[in-house]
Symmetry: C3
Subunit: 320 residues, 3 copies
């Protein structure tokens, strides 16, 4: 009888699915970043392709729309020479009232190798991973408020690229932490990789005190949150929340928590500014900062392709 705590690993401790950064070891995260480093150069070559997943079928299953994230996985899989099937299930009548697992069984029967899954419900990719055959792999492309592990890995890659090491860093995650799967996945990755000072910064409605259980410092004041940090990760303020009860208005938010050039002077002089995109200029971040020398937002996008190539090539090389 095989006991397996972490559904992301096989009995040899190898990664077979990427569902969350939570529960992955420092070695495993580092292995993914190291593998991604090899793929960064592929996208700058004249012929941007390697034959690693040739003849494999990658299904992009987006139960929640995200053209941008889907595109990054499409490109990553294509540069690995895989065949990609894009299914925007949110828009299509693909499921026709069918259950999630019936849909998965059906697509798996077409000989799928990797399912890239975006779903509005937290945990949906876990359900799928536990259901599929041993040679099929699941990559979580964002589930509910739970996790967005490839975004966290590309953020870690970006931090390591610009800062070299995590063990002396102060990192501030600013904005709507409560509803953010990006924030959760980044917190787990940063603490696992040895970052000693992670701060979550925002109003009490969006950054509740109990986040401190995750080993981070809760700050409701930007001065406290940004002081002497090496890295600022700004979160996107979802449009649908701006008019809700949690926030007075976008203008009001920017006044109190928008990342401006002035506020960036609280951080270390060589601090970098990150954002998962798409950016709301003038809401969570000023245009001056976005276009300024400390922003590494487009590097995140570039590294994101390499990280997704790494993740897919790693999981595809193991069996459950």
């Amino acid at each position: 009888m095989r006991i397996q705590r972490n559904p992301q690993l096989n009995s040899n401790g190898e990664l077979i699915h990427l569902l969350s950064t939570e529960g992955l070891s420092k070695n495993m995260l580092t292995h993914m970043l190291d593998t991604a480093a090899n793929f960064v150069s592929v996208s700058s070559r004249d012929v941007k392709k390697v034959p690693l997943l040739r003849g494999k079928s990658v299904f992009n299953l987006f139960f929640e729309n995200s053209t941008r994230t889907r595109t990054t996985f499409d490109i990553a899989a294509t540069r690995l020479s895989a065949d990609v099937i894009n299914l925007d299930i949110a828009k299509s009548s693909a499921s026709k009232g069918e259950s999630l697992l019936d849909t998965i069984d059906n697509l798996a029967a077409m000989a799928a190798d990797i399912f890239v899954v975006r779903h509005g419900d937290s945990g949906a990719p876990y359900l799928i991973a536990q259901h599929v055959a041993p040679h099929v792999h699941v990559v979580n492309a964002g589930d509910g408020r739970h996790a967005h592990p490839t975004q966290a890995l590309l953020d870690m890659y970006t931090i390591r690229h610009f800062k070299g090491d995590f063990t002396n860093l102060s990192v501030a995650i600013v904005g709507d932490v409560l509803h953010s799967r990006v924030a959760r996945s980044n917190i787990h990755a940063l603490t696992t990789l040895g970052c000693p000072d992670v701060r979550v910064v925002g109003p009490k409605t969006l950054v509740p005190q109990d986040f401190s259980h995750l080993g981070v410092r809760v700050c409701h004041d930007m001065a406290e949150g940004l002081r002497d940090v090496d890295v600022v990760i700004t979160l996107r303020l979802q449009n649908e929340r701006m008019s809700g009860a949690l926030l007075p208005s976008a203008q009001e938010f920017f006044k109190s928590y928008g990342l401006t050039t002035q506020r960036m002077q609280l951080a270390k002089p060589d601090a970098i500014v990150m954002h998962p995109g798409p950016i709301n200029r003038g809401v969570e971040i000023s245009s001056e900062v976005v276009d300024g020398p400390q922003a590494v937002i487009l590097s995140q996008v570039t590294f994101g392709i390499a990280v997704r190539m790494a993740v897919m090539s790693i999981v595809a090389s193991h069996e459950a």
Copy 2:
């Protein structure tokens, strides 16, 4: 002057289009199943590709939405190394009031090799096949209530795979036979392949008596329909019909004609259960049967890829 009765065949009797199982010989159907057998292994290989249609352009023309069926053709063509263009014309403004044949002429002028056509109107793929140039091929992916020949072929493949031969079989097709192109195509294929006992089973509103003209037995009682059969093909009950005048309700239908474990005891002990998908659990079939040992529904899906690869490679190898 060339006289050509069957628009699916050229003057040498070779298949140039697949429009219907009706009018194809037993030899032709068997040839397609034999060819598919060669392709089943391709999808279980490490590199799931063969170069048979490399550099060919396959256009998936879906005038009626069906993400699932389109996906199976997309995968089949991609595994044959073809270039695939997916056109969901139902959703797009592609036609802009243009006539069907003007749209076809236009796409053909882009050097199309195969048109895979799903259309709400019975006969549309025939119209297209009669219109295109000799080197262009049409595969019917479902037209109105008329025909769905690749579904019928994958059903035949599945039956032959599990039962070996057609000449001693009893097959029941259960449900909304009246509106089902799957039922029509299966009836033609089964009778041509020598199946001596084909029964169509359902309420009088959905299984009219005149189906007996097709050489099948009409049964309005499940006990009579299922008794000692080797194969049960359950049809999907279209949602839009459930609240119509033809049926009291989904619950009512299930009570009278739903395929349950209990009813399956009327069939032979080794009978198989098939369904074209997507399944309405608890409407035309119980979850227990779907997930039980007699269901071969996912095998149908797997064989469906191989059958579509076979059909496309066969038609592409002949000229009109």
Copy 3:
């Protein structure tokens, strides 16, 4: 300091973007037509592919829907062996309120090589071309009422194919010239290529007198417009204009300006009839003319693939 008048050319005078036929030299236009001639044969080969853009990423950015035009670029790029990402931004929530240039920066960071851009605003492709890095190329697939250069080039290719030379030709462009980017791009191309007699023909509301500044003759009478011409380019009458103030009705338009067999007798006996598609039969052109021997409308489509292959391969071979 580099002074560069034409944003389509680098300092060596080589084409790096295709934004408009305006401002390109006769030599440059001829070079594109000559290159396209090499690609016409590719689409008639058994394997319709050349490896010129293998491993390159082509992004089809359609801010305005056009399944048909997008398909032609998709096919052209695929036959050059490029990887194609189709983004129908009009339909998707891809931009999520993001600015145009933030969207472009983001996609460019994924290592795009060519952006094919269709946009409702005149000038949008220029904005993008001025913004992207030196190794990234922009091809205008239609911007507002401004330009549609690949359509003009395929029209020029078609004319040259059937008429050999431009220097003795009379060409009539008939219909809604005012709102037509096709007309504008064709006028620039024809005059640059030495066509001595270009006429724009239609009612005063759709063909204002000031078009004469472009070096063409304005005709409000079909007899005058068509007399002894070698080429008739019929424009599509946009459905949304037919019920507007500019026109009484589609029937009324056809009566005065519809291209009929009878009116074609005014042209030279060997005159050809062109149309950018999709055709409104019975509005701007009669079915008899569309299906008649003088129409070369489907040849335009075929040449359009070759012209787009030529344009992409040319721009991709130069750096800014």
